[in-house]
């Protein structure tokens, strides 16, 4: 399929390769300019430039927390200090080279970050700010005052190696470290690791459906951030040669946060430039003699912090307004309606593809084996004194299509939440293919092959259609997250194949024009379609669909029903469907469970359920004679 498309892709590839070469050349030139910058300027300036590099590194480490995790750290300077003092301590006591001491500083930062992150990242997002602030004060008042660790008030000294005695040489080393960190940050975002981190940040539950464990990814990022901060601290100690507790007051944490926000929390170069500028700003102002005469040197250093508070607030408010406008604009004009000429709705795009083509020809997945039965026994849920589910039991045999119907508030979605792992407290037993799910986190259930859709649309709204598809293939990509970050040949190959597969799927379904459109701006029906494509891409054994036809017209719903019927004949997977659209339920399901007020009132083949007096009464409110 695709000669034309392949040719088109190659053309684009050529163009981007040229552009890539030009970009690389530009980057090399910029780096060379920055590298020769200190030559010929005064030595005090020279010192400040090295400091700018260190601040850039700290800014990057904080960007990982704020930008990638959407959390606030106020204790980054504590991690920097811990790295610096550790390096100084090690060099003073052990005959090891400076390079290793820098790594040791990084490891010290990473260890403390793993302790803090392991506790705080499990909790609501703002808790990281709270814990890191307390950490910052404990570091400043306790650890950095301990004589054995930091040399107390006098501070710790780290003598430089012979070959680093010249400031310029050390400057080049700092620059190299900064560039390496920027490269790492770039690589972190360009593969399955980065996609998983983004999924966890934007939609944790969706990530879990794809088998991504939120804590392990956010903790990895937090630990990498701690490592970078520790390395920055060791380099700081080497650069200044003396560091002390007064270098790392808790106020510095506030300033670091401000500079990252001003740089743009997800903008790598912006953060580095903003941080570097912060480091040298007061020195630059100090060069302006009239200003110094007017306010004095000490006050000059405080000007920046005074001004940045209001500045950050304005930046945040402007960004929030822009986001609001964008959201409003997106809601106003859905682009899903004019998908392709001749089609009236998005479901047609799905109808063009048979399920077996998607799994076999596009994802090249092994044919799914429905060897797992879902068995739910005696499931009860109580929410705030209300018995949402009262001991229901149901089963989905391998390859079976089962409907779950009932009036609003009957407990259908709660039942789904228990099976997929989002309901915290429930009692009963849920097994899938013999595995007990009772204690498994949602992501492990995803890994077992249980996939689901959400009523509100389980997608990353800010990410494009293509990105959503790529994230959904997380588990199927056969390379490790670390391999992806370091760009092993295997991972690069897998990424290339994945991109081609996604493009092919979009092309075949006629959605190629939406490839780079953020999902949040799509119409409701198209979002449903993309969501179904995404859960389908996880190679599920059991697919749970929560009202798949909501928001669709009757004809679209019947197309979707046909497609799901095709799933059932072509593939050997089980389906559990919550649905209100009666023709779809009747036409599709082998068996139907009817839920009312938390109990199963009927379980039979659809034709029998339809005429069951208890069911009719539950839906239409007609009293059952002799029952009351």
């Amino acid at each position: 399929m695709g000669l034309i498309q392949a040719a088109g892709r190659r053309g684009v590839g050529d163009l981007s390769r040229h552009r890539g070469a030009a970009k690389a050349l530009l980057i090399v030139i910029c780096i060379a300019l920055v590298a020769v910058l200190p030559v010929g300027i005064s030595s005090s300036w020279n010192l400040e430039l090295g400091f700018a590099c260190i601040y850039g590194l700290i800014g990057l480490s904080l960007k990982l927390v704020v930008g990638s995790l959407d959390r606030v750290s106020l204790g980054q300077q504590a991690l920097v200090g811990i790295g610096g003092f550790t390096a100084a301590l090690i060099v003073a006591h052990l005959p090891i080279p400076f390079g290793l001491a820098v790594v040791a500083g990084g490891i010290a930062g990473a260890l403390v970050a793993s302790l803090i992150g392991g506790i705080a990242l499990r909790l609501p997002r703002l808790h990281v700010a709270l814990v890191t602030l307390v950490l910052a004060l404990a570091a400043e008042n306790w650890l950095f005052q301990e004589d054995w660790f930091s040399g107390g008030q006098l501070g710790a000294t780290l003598y430089r190696n012979q070959w680093l005695a010249d400031n310029y040489h050390l400057y080049l080393l700092l620059l190299a470290c900064l560039l390496a960190a920027m490269l790492l940050d770039y690589r972190l975002g360009r593969n399955k690791f980065g996609r998983a981190v983004r999924a966890v940040r934007d939609a944790e539950r969706v990530a879990e459906v794809y088998g991504i464990r939120p804590l392990s990814y956010s903790l990895s990022v937090f630990v990498i951030s701690g490592f970078l901060a520790g390395v920055a601290g060791a380099l700081w100690a080497e650069w200044e040669q003396v560091i002390s507790v007064s270098d790392f007051p808790y106020q510095l944490g506030l300033v670091l946060l401000i500079m990252v926000v001003i740089g743009g929390i997800t903008n790598r170069l912006g953060v580095v430039v903003a941080s570097g500028t912060f480091a040298i700003f007061s020195v630059v102002l100090g060069e302006i003699q009239p200003l110094v005469n007017l306010v004095g040197t000490t006050r000059l250093a405080l000007f920046l912090p005074v001004l940045t508070g209001p500045l950050v607030t304005v930046v945040l408010i402007r960004a929030a307004r822009k986001q609001e406008r964008r959201d409003a604009g997106g809601r106003g004009r859905p682009v899903g309606g004019d998908l392709s000429p001749g089609s009236t709705g998005s479901v047609h795009a799905l109808a063009r593809l048979s399920p077996s083509i998607i799994t076999r020809d596009i994802w090249r997945s092994p044919a799914p084996i429905a060897d797992s039965a879902l068995v739910v026994e005696n499931l009860s849920v109580t929410l705030g004194g209300l018995n949402v589910l009262r001991g229901i039991s149901l089963a989905v045999q391998p390859g079976e299509v089962v409907g779950l119907v009932g009036p609003n508030g009957a407990g259908k979605t709660t039942c789904f939440n228990c099976i997929s792992g989002y309901q915290r407290r429930w009692s009963g037993d849920i097994t899938f293919g013999g595995h007990s799910l009772n204690k498994l986190p949602a992501s492990s259930r995803g890994q077992l092959g249980i996939a689901r859709t959400f009523q509100g649309g389980g997608l990353l709204r800010g990410a494009s259609v293509k990105e959503n598809l790529m994230i959904s293939r997380h588990r199927a990509l056969g390379y490790s997250a670390a391999g992806g970050v370091f760009g092993t040949p295997r991972s690069l190959r897998a990424e290339k194949v994945l991109l081609e597969q996604c493009r092919e799927l979009l092309a075949l379904s006629g959605l190629e024009r939406l490839e780079n459109v953020p999902v949040g701006t799509l119409s409701y029906g198209t979002m449903r379609l993309v969501e179904i494509m995404c859960v389908f891409a996880t190679d599920p054994k059991l697919l749970m669909l929560d009202e798949p036809s909501s928001g669709m017209s009757a004809s679209e719903a019947s197309l979707l029903g046909d497609w799901l019927a095709q799933v059932r004949t072509e593939l050997n997977i089980s389906l559990l469907i919550i649905e209100h659209h009666v023709p779809m339920v009747v036409g599709l399901c082998d068996r139907v469970y009817v839920l009312d007020a938390g109990t199963v009132i009927a379980a039979d083949v659809p034709s029998n359920v339809r005429v069951d007096p208890a069911v009719v009464s539950a839906f239409l409110g007609e009293p059952v004679r002799g029952d009351t």
């Binding site: 506790i119 700010a129 602030l133 307390v134 306790w142 912090p305 005074v306 209001p310 408010i317 960004a319």
Partner: protein, 287 residues
């Protein structure tokens, strides 16, 4: 021992004021107000400047100082928090952090970085317990805090404004539908937080020194620890937490402070980590 306990209770009572302010704002704006300590510093400075440079009596200085703290809180709410109410939850937190940073820098410029001690509101010894003299100042602090808790309880359970704040905090959508002005509820809760912060500052200033950022480093962090311990959503929990943290701080300084610098901060870090590990909702917080 008795001295440590008593002085811990006094500090803890003041921390309880800060902690209540933090909880009220957290419940309403869903953010930690990192500027809570700066309300106290502003109030203490204003009182100090008035007492130092004008012949006005203490009471006037106190009132003006509290007004200044409330004004600062309202300004932050109107200019930063309210415009960010629909933004990501991290944004208001970053805003309060940035404002705190600015406030500390501004205080340093205005004061030249020096520290002050506010004169005692009342002098003299009230009575002795177990050989420890209890000053009227201590009695006053505890009395004011108790009165605040009682008045606060009456306000939140009996007055229309108090009930409106609680409704807006627990069910924002429903509250808006039944006609509670969300902006007003938000301003009221920040105003109360400013008042509590200012009061805490004035009560603590005579027993500690006031320097730029001092209350953020000591009282704010202690109060945050207290809210974690008591449960972020519980006002009663904040009071209990404040007292416990005050006593824990005081005892740790007395018993291990000689061998470990910054013992109080270490104890706070330990409490925060252990509570969040074992019982993240705190002692009295909603699960």
């Amino acid at each position: 021992m008795v001295t440590a306990l008593l002085s811990g209770l006094v500090n803890g009572a003041a921390y309880a004021l800060f902690a209540m302010g933090i909880v009220i704002v957290y419940k309403n704006s869903r953010t930690f107000n990192l500027a809570q300590g700066e309300f106290a510093t502003v109030a203490a400075y204003v009182a100090y400047v008035i007492l130092k440079s004008t012949p006005l009596p203490y009471s006037v200085a106190l009132i003006v100082a509290l007004v200044a703290a409330v004004a600062m809180a309202l300004a932050i709410e109107r200019l930063a928090i309210w415009p960010l109410r629909r933004a990501s939850r991290v944004d208001p937190l970053v805003a309060t952090a940035a404002i705190t940073s600015s406030a500390i820098a501004l205080e340093t410029i205005l004061s030249g970085g020096a520290s002050y001690v506010l004169p005692a509101i009342v002098g003299g010894r009230a009575f002795t317990i177990g050989g420890t003299a209890v000053s009227y100042e201590w009695v006053l602090v505890i009395g004011v805090v108790l009165a605040t808790v009682v008045l606060g309880g009456i306000f939140f359970s009996n007055s229309m404004n108090g009930i409106a704040i609680r409704a807006a905090a627990s069910e924002p959508t429903a509250a808006r539908i039944i006609g509670i002005a969300m902006g007003r509820a938000s301003m009221l809760s920040w105003g109360i937080a400013g008042l509590l912060g200012g009061l805490g500052g004035i009560l603590l200033a005579p027993v500690t020194t006031v320097s730029p950022g001092e209350f953020t480093a000591s009282a704010l962090v202690a109060a945050l620890t207290a809210t974690v311990l008591g449960g972020l959503t519980s006002i009663v929990g904040a009071c209990v937490g404040g007292l416990v943290i005050g006593v824990a701080e005081s005892l740790s300084i007395t018993y291990i402070g000689n061998s470990i610098p910054g013992a109080a901060s270490l104890v706070e870090l330990g409490i925060v980590l252990i509570v969040l590990l074992v019982r993240p909702s705190g002692l009295l917080g909603a699960r």
